[in-house]
Symmetry: C2
Subunit: 470 residues, 2 copies
């Protein structure tokens, strides 16, 4: 699969950022289809299509099916059983048929190591068509201009405390992104700078951008330049938030217990947007060089954000936690002694006299894989977890978990690529046992091996990588 | 002066991180003095010396003299008058006598361009001796071990809204650093890892570091490794905070109006610590390569921190400001239309319907040099400003200003240096008109020139660089 992804990246570069080819198959489009002469049309798949008359297409009922593996695995009932066989740890990958994933995407997962009954992870791969909601300028749409946008989408969802959040995200997050992009269809296809202000209704006059400035010498005199790229980033950021809010609203009716890390890639108009909320990781291998496309959000990495929130909103700590960090747990008998600490502002350490409230559990503790927030969870961003409480307490974790991703942008048109170049997405299960360089150097013969590993190379894979440890 | 600094850096490298030479002169030590065989002793200068019987040496009265230029300029009354001559814009630099600044430090400043009556900036250059407060382990001090530490110190203080804060910082901040280091004298000289917990009183037994761990599998089972370096960072961070708190306490009695950006360098035990709170900048030029040693803290750079504070503590916005950012000022007639915005979580932009509260002033507005926080101030970190209010309002600015610096560490023992290598500190007045590369390539003949510029090269200089614009 690695080869396939490598060639896929090369294929994309050779297309020079042109609109992606129209998929033959709605759910599993064939990447070998020729680029269309006209702008791409909507895939025929109802789930991936923006129904123009649908008020809330991201909430369609059929999108919330029962537990399963990613649809592109095309698992038979027997395959689904094997995917849950903890003893065998079978590796799952898509069948090597003519219905390949777009961009020659590769995929591999192994069943988990017994932590949970089901594999709580999910993945998604779609080609999504975005039809403009309306003419944002108020003018009638010109027939000659493209009426929609198409983006490629890949998502990895590392579930925890249940698989529903990851399932829901894998079915709906790309639709939230599509919803956010609907208003931008015309703007993104117009080379002029995006309008800062839009009319409330189509047909009403919009505001001029430079005629309302106050005081030429004041800080109001300038207006920020907003790029097309930053609009896409904002659309993805808000899509994550809306996805999370939907989980909060519907968590009882649809049993959306648990949460998930989300790592998604959007390819749109020549640029790759990598959005990460959690501890998964994406890298691009370009001419042997590794380009990090994400960073992991853990209690250690986000210590100061968490401490600042606990400091400013102490009620969120419920009298059970202290926002200060100590290098180890403070003992009652150490009251009055001086221990190293750091607060929300510090990167260094200093000694402080231990007081009674320092005996509370620290908001952030531990190191590496053992690092925890509120002694409960090892990631600090993601979707869901609206019911998550501190162990043996009613204190909610969610206020400290952020659903916002960090989005990095890679302009494919700016770089030379070779056939071996590849974009790799993996959850922590992969990166715990495989370094960036190992992934880079892994090929069909050099890739990690384990029980049941298929004879080909591999690419993105959800959390449970136990099979690769052997 | 550039050459002198270049040779000074080379000199330091050749000493391999050994304790700095004992200065001959207390205030302006001669860098050519030979390194001592024994650990360095305290300079004779009362201001720079840690009086062992002084309970609060950082608060001595003589340290708060009236307005003047940096003492190392050794200005005569006539020179002091010329330093205030806005028309002539004389460049001030230390006299080229035998009493050179340590490390062959160079210094240049020009008078300001009329923004204020006095030059509001200050600078400081000291060799500071730190005597241990007591034996931290509780055991009697061994006579054979070094009893103190010496650090080199350089500070640039870019004042605004009055010069008192910069003056006070230039006289006292290094003493706060010394105070913070007093507890660490023995620990920093002991190669074993710093103790995590110290007894409350000398002689009392300290806690063992690994015998109080709870639950070997929990996040408590690990204890963080704390380095000597991170203790020095913590000491500098807290020194900035204590300096700021002192300004708050004494602002009425000592007329500490205004505030200042602070950029300081501490050289201690082979490492250079660069601490920055404000929009000054430090770079190291090493073999022609430029290594940034700071970043500027402006409303644009700290937008998300400021917005998060305004979001979590809306009372700090007083109903006058919105925590949202807009690319330009929203007009009342645009109510109901949709304008681009971003909140504390977003890096991208999205459209939102304009509501009544969006008409408030944005917390952060403008770009580049015109960027302002609360329409008032263009920096977001620094010391002082405890009386600063929003223009035409009683709303305090201070809660959004942070006194904490970012500290970067450069290990001089890890790199090869050549005689041209140099550490350059400059306030925004320098960097507004001179790029990193220009500073790097500037020599006696190639340096920036302007009215009154001296015929030699230059190094660190406070804000008013109008003379270099010509």
């Amino acid at each position: 699969m690695l080869n396939r992804v490598r060639s896929a990246v090369a294929h994309l570069v050779s297309s020079g950022g042109a609109p992606p080819p129209r998929p033959k198959s709605p759910d599993l489009p064939n990447s070998t289809s020729a680029p269309p002469a006209a702008p791409p049309q909507a895939p025929r798949s109802p789930p991936a299509r923006a129904g123009s008359g649908s008020a809330a297409p991201a909430r369609t009922v059929e999108a919330r099916a029962s537990f399963c593996r990613p649809t592109f695995l095309q698992l038979s009932p027997g395959g689904l059983r094997r995917a849950d066989d903890h003893a065998g740890r079978a590796v799952q990958s898509p069948p090597d048929t003519g219905r390949r994933l777009p961009w020659s995407t590769g995929y591999a997962e192994v069943i988990n190591s017994g932590k949970s009954r089901h594999n709580e992870d999910q993945a998604c791969c779609e080609v999504v068509y975005v039809e403009g909601r309306r003419s944002v300028s108020g003018a009638p749409r010109e027939p000659s201009r493209g009426q929609g946008l198409c983006f490629y989408y890949w998502g990895l969802f590392d579930g925890h405390a249940g698989g529903r959040a990851a399932e829901m995200a894998s079915r709906l997050l790309h639709r939230h992104i599509r919803e956010q992009l609907k208003d931008l269809v015309e703007i993104l296809q117009d080379p002029s700078p995006p309008p800062l202000c839009l009319p409330s209704t189509p047909g009403a006059p919009g505001s001029s951008d430079s005629s309302h400035l106050v005081g030429p010498q004041s800080c109001w005199s300038s207006q920020k330049e907003v790029t097309h790229e930053s609009l896409v980033v904002g659309a993805i950021e808000n899509a994550f938030q809306f996805m999370d809010e939907q989980m909060a609203r519907e968590r009882r009716g649809h049993q959306v217990e648990g949460g998930c890390c989300a790592l998604v890639v959007v390819y749109l108009l020549g640029k790759v947007y990598v959005a990460n909320a959690g501890d998964s990781r994406a890298i691009i291998v370009r001419n042997g060089e590794i380009i990090p496309m994400s960073r992991e959000f853990t209690p250690e990495a986000e210590r100061q954000r968490l401490q600042m929130l606990g400091f400013l909103k102490p009620e969120l700590l419920g009298g059970e936690f202290t926002h200060l960090e100590f290098p180890r747990r403070v003992q009652p008998k150490e009251l009055g002694q001086r221990m190293l600490y750091r607060d929300q502002n510090m990167t260094g350490w200093a000694y402080k006299k231990i007081e009674l409230e320092d005996l509370r559990f620290p908001l952030v503790c531990g190191e590496g894989k053992k690092a925890r927030m509120m002694a409960t969870i090892g990631v600090t961003r993601g979707l869901g977890d609206h019911n998550l409480r501190v162990c043996s307490s009613t204190l909610p974790i969610k206020p400290f978990l952020s659903s916002f991703p960090e989005v990095r942008v890679y302009d494919l048109t700016q770089y030379e690529h070779c056939p071996d170049d590849v974009l790799v997405l993996g959850t922590d299960g992969l990166w715990d046992v495989t370094s960036d360089c190992e992934v880079h150097s892994s090929g069909p013969s050099s890739g990690p091996r384990g029980p049941g590993h298929p004879p080909g190379p591999w690419l993105a894979s959800p959390q449970q990588q136990a099979g690769f440890r052997g």
